[in-house]
Assembly symmetry: C2
Homo-oligomer: 118 residues x 2
């Protein structure tokens, strides 16, 4: 069995998703990892935070999805002082490119249980 990270929970819809798609530069490996960990820790303390998932491949292309109870919660997190510094450093040094989308989650599904082997 593969060790699995916990998936972000599936709360009742509707709620909001921030989809952050990014290409890392070759710069700042350790600083970036430390800040990314800190941002996850800090986000989890914000009002309205519902969870997050993140995957980055060996070429530095990654997708992070975070989930929030409201647009207000997303706006507050975006303006958080320590997060703003991380965003600025990201634009200046860590990201070659990124896109960011804000979306209202309307439906969600978990993997259905497999039928029992007969």
């Amino acid at each position: 069995m593969t060790t699995m990270p916990p998936f972000a929970a599936l709360p009742p819809t509707p709620y909001y998703a921030v989809i952050f798609t990014s290409q890392r530069t070759a710069q700042g490996h350790d600083d970036y990892a430390q800040t990314a960990d800190r941002m996850v820790e800090l986000a989890a303390q914000q009002p309205g935070f519902l969870g997050a998932d993140s995957a980055r491949n060996a070429q530095g292309f990654g997708i992070t999805t975070s989930y929030w109870s409201s647009l207000e919660a997303i706006a507050q997190w975006r303006q958080h002082a320590e997060h703003r510094i991380a965003q600025e450093t990201g634009r200046a040094h860590w990201y070659a490119d990124y896109t960011l989308r804000i979306a209202k989650v309307e439906r969600s599904y978990a993997m259905p249980p497999l039928p029992s082997a007969s």
Copy 2:
């Protein structure tokens, strides 16, 4: 400069996102890769397809986001015969777990250009 995959475009909002988060099993490496490539190729031919991004890390945890013009387009793709076979094989063999969310993209942002160096 890192070689960058093309990011999915940012069409005018609103449109829809399918957020598929998954943990691969250790099974079927080649079959999986071949089918994943084929599904990207096939999705791109469907009415209403707007783009997709995908990242999977070395531990087999991945996020794929695909973008669609309408819920009807997503429903049609979900019912596509060849895609249904891939979904069934995925549940039986390739995925230890997954979650799937359907969300309406309300806003989007690209990385702002950096200020010129002075």
